[in-house]
């Protein structure tokens, strides 16, 4: 019982991280119909810039308890850095290809992904050494349920992720700008005819998606303090799993991305705990193929018939 609860808690925490990243994939797919492979690397930059900001502010592993505003400052600056990064990626790599075949945009995305990884590896940027994130949040136990310790970090991860998802829902479905976003995702040309600035909306989508990825990166660094080097394959794999979450939930669908993220997190953690910890990557991709075979548009995706 204790084990199961602990596993579910882990699944919830990891799943909300996947969900945050998946939102970025699904927003870009909904609007531009292409897989933004560089999104996983924006997440990596988010985690690393959180570390870099924390280090620049003088917080280290050995430096004692940081003040309460430290986590907020680090989170906001990391989100800011990635939002700017997302804006520039869209502006200079994807916008020139707006009318090119989707395959080209995809290759460009891979190019951007390689660029981010390898720029991150440069010595003046983050370097090639793995680093340990200092604990910005105190490691206090909030409460215990059936012998499972629920710490401040876990609760922060889940609550912050949920808050951001709710915020995004509000943005997309309750604001004027959100209806412009939905209009653009429905049809670029008609949206433009209705007086919507399509380029602005697309830029904004990238900014929001990248900021969410940065938040996920920060939370990831809080929960798992060891940061692998920027070009390490684990980052790409985390990005891919988040992408799988978006597909499983139904790509282009915001609630789907959240549901998919939680599902992927749970499946991964339950599989690792009860089947074999070595095969944890396997469950995710088997789930993906299973979902695609029986429900190709994902759990919450809508089917559309292609007409001539």
């Amino acid at each position: 019982m204790t084990d199961l609860l602990q596993t579910l808690l882990n699944g919830l925490a990891v799943g909300s991280l996947y969900a945050l990243i998946a939102l970025g994939y699904t927003m870009v797919y909904g609007i531009l119909q292409f897989i933004n492979f560089a999104h996983g690397d924006v997440f990596m930059i988010g985690a690393w810039s959180a570390y870099a900001v924390a280090a620049a502010l003088g917080f280290t592993l050995a430096g004692g308890d940081p003040p309460g505003w430290a986590a907020v400052a680090v989170l906001l600056s990391s989100m800011g850095i990635c939002a700017v990064l997302g804006f520039f990626i869209e502006r200079f790599a994807y916008r020139p290809l707006r009318s090119a075949p989707r395959l080209n945009v995809l290759i460009t995305a891979i190019g951007v992904s390689l660029l981010l990884q390898n720029t991150g590896q440069l010595r003046p940027v983050f370097g090639t050494q793995p680093q340990s994130m200092p604990a910005l949040l105190p490691d206090t136990t909030l409460f215990q349920v059936a012998g499972v310790r629920v710490g401040l970090v876990d609760v922060t991860v889940v609550l912050l992720a949920v808050a951001m998802m709710v915020g995004l829902q509000w943005l997309v479905f309750r604001t004027r700008f959100g209806s412009a976003m939905r209009a653009v995702s429905h049809d670029h040309r008609i949206a433009a005819l209705m007086g919507i600035r399509v380029d602005t909306v697309i830029s904004f989508t990238f900014v929001v998606g990248s900021a969410l990825a940065a938040a996920a990166g920060f939370l990831f660094a809080m929960k798992y303090s060891g940061l692998k080097q920027p070009a390490d394959a684990t980052w790409v794999l985390l990005g891919l799993k988040a992408f799988v979450a978006a597909v499983v939930g139904g790509i282009g669908n915001l609630q789907g991305a959240m549901l998919g993220g939680l599902l992927i997190g749970m499946v991964e953690m339950l599989g690792a705990a009860y089947l074999s910890p070595h095969l944890r990557d396997l469950y995710v991709f088997v789930l993906l193929i299973g979902v695609l075979l029986f429900r190709p548009t994902g759990i919450m995706g809508s089917t559309s018939v292609e007409k001539v």
Partner: protein, 365 residues
């Protein structure tokens, strides 16, 4: 008698004539001669570093040209080519390694370029191709019913599953006695795991690589010019129209996929037996798949010569940039993005190099 539309066309060959037979054999003969020349004249002249580079180029040409059958001809989007490469490489590597262990008591190379060991190696390459083709069939049959990006996602998932499973295999036995103690099923689960499959005999040489390159290029070319291949192209141009014209699109897509997987398996087998290779699942992950996709897109979708030239360029380029150390991959990534923005159709578009201005001759149309 009404004239056949082909009757007046220069170069049209009637099946069964002597001219047709020679036309069929000549390219193979030329390819074999070229491969022999590379092995015996060019290889020794340029030394081991450039020989190795020529082998890498050959393997990448096979990979790019075969992926082109799926991505270029048929317009499907597969990003799991390295997965098939891994399947073929491990199947072939295990076959030669364990056969050598059982038959000769050790993984040493037996005989020269045409020796008994090479016969085993060539057989293993074909077996590797067939195993990969079977995997391609199993993956393709359910997933090719889906359109567009979903195939990409399934193939990506497949590649990752192959990698994870291979990483869970056990250590390779080092001595003949240990190998003899294993049953054939156990051999299939002793493939080195995440440390890699080391000790596969180094049979790959310029001759055999370029023989397989010749085979791949000719199959790709003949395919493109045949009725069978035209069905692939029709799916790329307009799937719904192709279906309306009676092309069984799912079946043709699966065929394209199986053909591509076969050659990816062969390339994997050649890679597995290359000097200095420790077959490692991580090396054959999605980054390798992306590399191959990049070659196809850079060359131009459906252009065999384009894919070939792009494969050569993208194999040489990282080596040439090696001096730039840290900035190598950054330059590579930037070039990729720039090429996509400046020349989105790739080097040659959907055409071949000889169909473009400096080479194109006026054809009777």
């Amino acid at each position: 008698m009404t004239a056949s539309p082909w009757a007046g066309k220069a170069g049209a060959l009637r099946p069964g004539t002597a001219a047709a037979a020679t036309a069929g054999v000549t390219p193979f003969a030329v390819g074999l001669l070229l491969a022999a020349a590379l092995q015996y004249a060019v290889g020794p002249a340029v030394g081991p570093f450039f020989s190795d580079l020529l082998i890498k180029i050959g393997i990448n040409v096979i990979l790019a040209v075969s992926l082109n059958v799926v991505n270029g001809y048929t317009g499907q989007f597969s990003i799991g080519h390295a997965g098939f490469m891994a399947v073929g490489g491990y199947a072939a590597g295990a076959l030669t390694y364990y056969t050598s262990m059982l038959a000769w008591g050790g993984p040493q190379v037996q005989g020269g370029v045409f020796g008994v060991g090479s016969a085993l190696f060539v057989g293993a390459c074909l077996v590797g191709g067939l195993v990969a083709a079977a995997a391609g069939w199993a993956v393709g049959l359910p997933s090719l019913r889906l359109r567009g990006d979903y195939l990409a996602i399934v193939t990506l998932g497949f590649g990752e599953i192959v990698r994870v499973l291979l990483q869970q295999t056990q250590d390779v036995p080092f001595t003949a006695d240990e190998a003899r103690a294993l049953s054939p099923v156990e051999m299939a689960t002793h493939l080195g795991g995440s440390l890699g499959f080391s000790g596969i005999p180094f049979y790959t040489n310029l001759f055999w690589v370029w023989c397989f390159v010749t085979l791949t290029l000719l199959v790709a070319y003949r395919l493109k010019e045949s009725t069978f291949g035209r069905a692939f192209l029709s799916i790329r141009e307009n799937e719904i129209a192709a279906e309306a014209m009676g092309v069984d699109t799912t079946r043709y897509k699966v065929r394209a996929f199986v053909i591509a997987a076969f050659f990816a398996g062969v390339a994997g087998a050649l890679f597995a037996h290359k000097i200095g290779t420790t077959l490692n699942p991580r090396e054959l992950g999605f980054m390798k798949s992306f590399d191959i996709v990049i070659m196809v897109v850079l060359g131009g979708m459906g252009s065999i010569s384009g894919a070939t030239i792009a494969a050569v360029l993208l194999t040489v380029l990282p080596e040439a940039l090696r001096g730039a150390a840290d900035y190598r991959m950054i330059v590579y990534a930037l070039m990729l993005v720039l090429v996509m923005i400046v020349r989105p159709q790739g080097l040659f578009g959907i055409r071949e190099i000889w169909e473009l201005p400096p080479f194109a001759r006026r054809r009777g149309r």
